[in-house]
Symmetry: C2
């Protein structure tokens, strides 16, 4: 049975543990690397595990289009398909569908859209989003919601929020497999009153966990954290809270301070493939010529495979030469960086010194989210 326990608190920050129905533990606050197409880009499952990640995210939209959820089901589900036995959370596909240029129509029934791959036409409904996720066999499913664009008019925000609530009721009803947890998603844009209303409606329906959706879509960081913090106050203490698509290390620390337990973001993996590396002293870009003959690892404090075996000079060479190994080594490091961050956060909460941890982090890596040290 899906379970969540808060082990300790430090002000609003929570250190907890999720136990999935299949018996795996996920220590929270947790960061989920993103495995869009049935693979966390450049990494094997063994690589992912070595970074310390305990759960990854799979994208319903992408897997539905290619190779198809029925194919994955036939082959034993997403875990077996990608050879990752540990927990997987699948999103509902909504975020991707609503980001598409080929989106044709949103109705109360669902959403018509065209595939980004071949332009083929599809119709997503709350029921289909659940059906796909049940075929994939993820440990945690997400409700199909509508993340409204930012900015939206107050009228549209309300309309969209009401529709999201109705869609989530349908998701709960459509769910057939009780062994897969189902999380609700709260919306409300950047309107405090709607945030509260949405949270209360979704909690009223009742889910295994609650996501804070529709943020990190263009609003300022402070507004994002304010909305996340506000929403969290309306969510039950005994269920995990998941801030979708966030974010930078600083954003994560800010959201943990506001009581969030789970995160996902393409930042560590995507940045790695662009040569942008997180270190305990800030970001660096491995393409920079200052690294050309630098025998040091990316981060002297990091225990990852990349930092144990390879110099900045070698990683820069691999990047310059277009060698695939470089993308993988960078990704191993960045994902490990995120997992060590989460481990540091958990440890600080347990020891009642999270505020000090956050302050030290901000001092040592000033501007890590937006600027680059080297």
């Amino acid at each position: 049975m899906f379970d969540f326990k808060v082990l300790s608190r430090d002000k609003k920050a929570r250190r907890g543990v999720i136990t999935t129905d299949r018996g795996h533990e996920i220590n929270t606050p947790a960061f989920m690397p993103v495995g869009t197409q049935g693979t966390v880009k450049t990494l094997s499952p063994e690589d992912i595990q070595r970074t310390g990640a305990e759960i990854i995210l799979g994208n319903t939209y992408h897997l539905y289009l290619r190779p198809g959820h029925k194919l994955i089901e036939k082959l034993g589900g997403l875990h077996r398909f990608m050879n990752w036995e540990r927990p997987i959370l699948t999103d509902s596909g909504g975020f991707q569908v609503f980001s598409l240029k080929g989106l044709t129509k949103i109705t109360d029934d669902g959403v018509r859209f065209q595939s980004h791959l071949d332009g083929s036409r599809h119709f997503f409904t709350p029921e289909l989003a659940i059906e796909i996720q049940e075929s994939l066999g993820s440990d945690i499913m997400m409700c199909f919601d509508e993340p409204p664009p930012y900015p939206s008019t107050p009228e549209y925000l309300r309309k969209s929020m009401d529709r999201t609530t109705r869609w989530e009721e349908r998701c709960k009803k459509a769910r057939k497999n009780p062994r897969q947890a189902l999380f609700g998603i709260t919306q409300g844009g950047t309107d405090p009153a709607l945030r509260e209303e949405s949270a209360k409606q979704i909690v009223q329906i009742g889910f295994d966990g609650y996501a804070i959706g529709g943020l990190s879509v263009g609003e300022s960081t402070s507004l994002m954290l304010e909305m996340a913090g506000l929403t969290a106050t309306f969510l039950p203490e005994d269920k995990p809270r998941y801030l979708m698509g966030v974010g930078t290390p600083e954003d994560i620390i800010g959201a943990v301070e506001a009581g969030v337990d789970m995160f996902d973001c393409v930042m560590p993996t995507r940045n790695a493939r662009n040569g942008s590396i997180f270190t305990s002293h800030g970001k660096l870009n491995i393409r920079n010529s200052v690294h050309i003959d630098d025998p040091r690892p990316l981060d002297e404090t990091c225990p990852c495979e990349t930092c144990r075996g390879y110099s900045r000079a070698y990683l820069r060479h691999l990047f310059s030469a277009g060698e695939i190994l470089g993308l993988r080594l960078n990704t191993i490091h960045n994902v490990t960086y995120y997992q060590r961050l989460m481990s540091g956060i958990r440890d600080a909460i347990t020891r009642g010194r999270f505020a000090a941890f956050a302050e030290e982090f901000r001092r040592e890596t000033a501007g890590i989210g937006s600027q680059q040290v080297i």
Copy 2:
């Protein structure tokens, strides 16, 4: 001290062991995966080791141009640079230089050429080829030779062969570090008399091992094997023999029959990145739609990481989706296939049943070198 012992013979085929000066053993017949730019494409050193490979090849030409041999020397040599402590053989750069379109002039002194990267002008000499390889710190260095184009006139073949002999004398003289073995390279094109003459001249100079060069450049397989076999008869029994740039599994078996001990080829790695997979029943291409829902591994008899964890359906999906992990998993499999082939060859020689092994192989994988089963 560099050493080679023949442990057993089966007709002309030899099963032996090379011990490098740094103390690593290389079981022969051996296949060396190619690590052109300081990495065996898509693989980490740990991946390479798991395939069973005991030695890899590094390309002097590529490393000289980027990142530069002086930089690699400053960073502790090629082994440390790429985090591969086991044996490395470096070629002399000659084969690449002579393949260049921007090649401007061959004189008795050396070769002028333009970099394929930026058009910059360079001058390679036997002395420079040794200097570069000593900077890289490989376990086995190769003499700088001229592989004549195929076909060449008898006059050119002779002129080129004579020049190669003089260049190799200069290489031996230029060598400063006796801890790095140095192999001579025999030439002579497809002229049996010149093959004999070249082999005798190169053996006369005296090296730690002998390569058979200038083959697999367009001549037929039977002619290639005939020339390799002929050359082998003029090489000393107590030194390793290396057939450069060969080849398909069938070519390797044919050359082992003729008494060759070492091989290198980009085939397993390059084919893997194109989706072309070696199996014990022949080749398959993972892009083929017949694999779309196939739950089987690439090769049920293969113990590699790829075959233990992933279905053909998943590997096809990764390839279709352009995911880097697919290239790596394919490469792990193909390189493992080659290493298992070599292991099978060694075992068959030890047991005095190499002819039967070769016959079984040819029957089971008819046309593996050129045709495709699926």
